[in-house]
Amino acid sequence: MSDKHSIPGPLANEGLPLAERGLFCDAPPRQYQRANKITEAFWNWARAQSLWILGFGTGCGAIELRPLMTSRFDMYRYGIQPRPTPRQSSVFVIGGYASVKTLKRIVRSYEQMMGPKFVVALGSCTINGGMYWDSYNTIKRIDQYIPVDVYIAGCMPRPEALLAGFQELKRIIRAGRGEGQNEYARKFEWYKANQKQVIKDWNMPDYNW
């Protein structure tokens, strides 16, 4: 939890063609200091009450978000709403199985989100592979590649389970334990190594602010 954490050298962005390397930043993510206790508690309260989901369906579980949005389950009453752009959203819902191809997009979108950011992973596939446990192209643990705050088990989890998961996320944020962004920055090299081990053709920037 310190800004003085040793910052590794600039990122090489070796996956990109030479002409494009200059278009992306070469600074790794840094950790952010928390505000003083009372301010941080107030902010965490506001963050918990205003969860903006990145509307990016990464798997079959995204289908469960639709009944959640509409009249039947109505997540708006809990201050949860979808946003179309990673810049403005604070919660990334991993909707079930993530193939390697999707993982590339997940990593890029996650890195583009502004902190503090939270990840809710739903479905058995994100936890231990689920029914895709022996698939040649589906990762088995999403928390090896991005930090996860809440898992929601089920195949598929019902919208009620999702609502319960979001309430759990709110408790985590209010308790000040939703520090996925700092976690990602602290173990950045470990996460990057895991990602690059799986994504064989790394043709994107090393850190996509």
Binding site: K101, N128, G129, N137, D201, W202
Partner: protein, 177 residues
């Protein structure tokens, strides 16, 4: 129908004609005469529509079975043209000049089974996988589980149980005792 079978047999050595159901039949042709046979079927016999093309891995016999599904819309009849190629030397004539859409199927077969179609457009490009470095993954000798175990991190503690046994234990615990 009779004369179609006869002329196919005479011209291209087509054999094993089999009526699968009303309006659908299958037949077999040698891979060397496959393209000529398909052209004749398209131009002369009215099977102008290529519904799909796919491959089946016959690991035990050491061959790939290629299947081309054609349809004659005028007579309402579908024909599955099978052909076999050696598994160790999977090369076959491209039919993208007969049906322009065939290059997509051929690109798919190239990526999934490693069957080559020389001259087919973009046949060497990635189809659904990105950055795949292993062997063609739909071949039956590709061990998906071993690849998955070696590549993707696993969460410890995963166990599997027989559903019948598990439900028996859950629902009727007294019988276990």
């Amino acid at each position: 129908m009779k004369e179609l079978i006869t002329s196919l047999a005479n011209r291209y050595g087509v054999r094993d004609w089999k009526d699968l159901k009303a309006g659908q039949a299958a037949c077999f042709v040698d891979s060397g005469r496959l393209r000529d046979c398909l052209r004749w079927l398209r131009d002369e016999a009215g099977y102008a529509h290529l519904s799909f093309a796919t491959a089946i891995d016959q690991l035990e016999r050491g061959v790939f079975t290629l299947t081309y599904a054609l349809r004659n819309h005028e007579r309402g009849h579908s024909l599955l043209v099978h052909s076999e190629i050696d598994r160790t030397r999977p090369v076959v004539d491209s039919i993208h000049r007969l049906w322009a859409q065939a290059w997509t199927y051929q690109r798919e077969m190239k990526e999934w089974y490693g069957i080559d179609f020389p001259g087919s457009p973009r046949v060497d490009e990635e189809f659904v996988l990105e950055g795949w470095q292993g062997p063609p993954m739909m071949r039956r000798d590709f061990d998906s589980l071993a690849y998955s175990d070696a590549t993707y991190a696993e969460r410890p503690g995963r166990a599997s149980s027989d559903p019948a046994e598990h439900m028996k234990r859950e629902l009727y615990p007294e019988e276990q005792a």
